[in-house]
C-alpha cells in the first residue's frame, strides 16, 4: 500500500511539474473550447452539454495516450524500470500507481471544462440531470482511454510509438460499430457490443445505463490487467 501511494504521489507530482502536460492539456481545452463556441452559436442551439461532451470525448482519444505515453515508456528507455522492478515492489503497484496519477491529471483537465458549463448556466437554463450524467460518461470514457494508453506505454520504450498504439486501439473501439453493421451474425453483434460509440450519447441524453457503466469499468480493468501482465512478461522476454 505504501508503495502504491509513493508511486502515485511521485507520478502525480511529475505531471504537475511537467510543461508538456500543460501544453497537451491546453491544446485539449482550446480545441474543445472552439467547438463548444461553434456549437452554441449555431441557430437553434440547445442549452445543454451534449455538443461539448461529444467533442471532449473525441479529443480525449488523442489526449489520453499523450498523457500516458511517458509513464512506462520513459522508464524503459531510461532503464529506471530495472531499478523499480528490482526493488521490493509488485508490478500491480507500479501500474496502478501510475494509472491513478494519470487519472488525477485527466480529471484536473476535465475540471477546467466546467467553465464552459458555467457559461451555459449563465446564459441559458439547462437541465441539470443530463449535465451530471454527461460528465459521469465523460469521466468513465476518459478513464478507459487512459487504461488503453497505459498499455500502449508498456509495450514500447518509445513514447511516440506508445501514443500511436494507444490512439489506434482507442480509434478501433470508437469506430468499430461502423464496421459491425457490415458483419453478419454473432461476430457483428460482438463488435457492436465492444464499441464505445453510442454509449456516450446515452449519457448525454441523461440516461445512466448500468450496462454502459459496467462496459467502461470492464475496459479499465482489462487494460490495467493487460498492462500489469505486459510488465510481468517483460522479465521473460
Amino acid at each position: 500500500m505504501n508503495n502504491l501511494l509513493a508511486i502515485t504521489a511521485k507520478e502525480t507530482r511529475a505531471y504537475f511539474a511537467m510543461p508538456s502536460a500543460y501544453v497537451v492539456g491546453a491544446m485539449f481545452l482550446a480545441l474543445t473550447g472552439v467547438f463548444f463556441v461553434f456549437d452554441i452559436s449555431s441557430p437553434f442551439a440547445e442549452a445543454g452539454v451534449r455538443g461539448l461532451v461529444d467533442w471532449a470525448s473525441f479529443f480525449t482519444i488523442f489526449l489520453a495516450p499523450l498523457l500516458t505515453m511517458r509513464l512506462l515508456a520513459e522508464e524503459q528507455k531510461l532503464g529506471t524500470l530495472e531499478l523499480l522492478l528490482t526493488s521490493p515492489v509488485r508490478e500491480w503497484e507500479v501500474v496502478l500507481g501510475k494509472y491513478i496519477a494519470s487519472l488525477a491529471m485527466l480529471l484536473a483537465i476535465q475540471f477546467v471544462t466546467l467553465y464552459y458549463v458555467l457559461m451555459i448556466y449563465v446564459f441559458g437554463d439547462p437541465d441539470s440531470g443530463p449535465v451530471l450524467s454527461s460528465y459521469l460518461g465523460l469521466i468513465l470514457h476518459g478513464a478507459a482511454a487512459l487504461a488503453i494508453g497505459l498499455l500502449g506505454s508498456s509495450l514500447s520504450g518509445n513514447q511516440i510509438v506508445a501514443a500511436v498504439v494507444g490512439t489506434a486501439v482507442l480509434l478501433f473501439f470508437t469506430f468499430i460499430d461502423r464496421v459491425s453493421s457490415l458483419v453478419e451474425g454473432a461476430p457483428g453483434g460482438f463488435l457492436n457490443a465492444i464499441s464505445m460509440d453510442g454509449r456516450l450519447s446515452d449519457f448525454t441524453r441523461g440516461v445512466i445505463d448500468t450496462s454502459h457503466i459496467i462496459y467502461f469499468l470492464s475496459l479499465i480493468a482489462i487494460f490495467v490487467f493487460l498492462t500489469i501482465r505486459s510488465l510481468e512478461t517483460r522479465r521473460w522476454r
Binding site: 505504501n2 508503495n3 509513493a6 508511486i7 511521485k10 511529475a14 511539474a17 511537467m18 531510461l78 532503464g79 529506471t80 524500470l81 530495472e82 531499478l83 523499480l84 522492478l85 528490482t86 526493488s87 521490493p88 515492489v89 509488485r90 522479465r235 521473460w236
Partner: protein, 324 residues
Amino acid sequence: MIEVSDITKYYGDFPAVTGLTFSVPKGEILGFLGPNGAGKSTTMKILTGFMPPTSGTASIAGFDIVEESLNARKHIGYLPETVPLYLDMTVSDYLSFMGTIRGMNGSEINRRRSDVIELCHLEEYSSTIIGKLSKGYRQRVGISQAILHEPDVLILDEPTIGIDPIQVVETRQLIKDLGDEHTLILSSHILPEVSLICDRIIIIHEGQIVAVDEPENLGTNLSGVERVELEVKGPNREIIPVLESVDGVQEISRDSSTGGAFHRYQITVDLGKDIRSDLATAVIENQWELLKLQSLGMSLEEIFLRLTIEEQQLNPTTVPETLE
C-alpha cells in the same frame, strides 16, 4: 549470503551465460571480471530478480530469487551499469522515493538519507535536479540509492565506468569501505581495479566461468610456475651453469638485448618455491655484481588474455568468416 547454482540464460538462441555456479559468503567482495558481452550484466540482472534464468537456481540471503523474489529483493541494493535515475527529481526527493518503495518509514529515510548523502559527498547537491548533475555525481547518487536501505547484498555493475580518474579513486575507496559491512558483487573489465578492491575474482568469458581465485593466487596458479627476473654483471658463460645448479630452477633464458658484461635472465622456477635468496647467494659467492632480482607473477592482464585466447583457440568456430 549469495548462492548461485548452475544458472543458464538464453536470449532467444544465444546463450548469454551457461552453467554458472558460485557462492559468496557474508562480507566478501567478489569481483566479476570479463570482456564486454561476457555475461556479467546478465548474471547481475538475474541475481537482482530483474529477469529469471532459463534454468538453474539462485538465492540471496536464503530466499530463492524466483520463488521468493520479493523477499530476496528486500536484501539487495543494486546499481545497474547505465545508472538509471529519474532526471526530473532532486537528489533528496529521489532518495526519499527509493527509500519508500523499499519499505523504509519516514524517520528511517530521513536518517539514512543524510547518512548516504554525506558518505557519497553529495551535500552540496541534495536539492539539485538529477538531470543537471555530471556523470560522476550521478554515479554517486546511484551508489547512494543502492546502500540507502542498508541491504545485506550490494550488486554494482561497472561502478567506476565513465567517471574521471579522481572520482574513480574515491569511488573505489567508497566501495572498499562498503565491503566491510556488506556482501558485495562488483563487475568490471578493468583488471587492476578488481585486484585492488576484491577479495576474490571470478573471470567470466563467453558466459562461462574460466577462473576463480584470490587476486594474488590467480597469477601463480594459472601459469603453474613462478618466474624470477635477474640482472647480473659478469661473464655469461660462467653464470648460466651456476644458476642452473641452484635447486628449483627449471629453465633459464637470457634476454638477447643485453650483452657485454651485463645480462638479464628470466628464470622459470618450480611452483611455490622462493629461491631468490639462493640465487642471490650464488651470484655473490662468485663475486659477480647483482643488479636486480625480482619475482615476476603473471600480471592479471596476461592471465586474462591467456585464458580468453586459449578459449578461442579451442573453439575454431569463432574464427571470423570471410565475406563473399
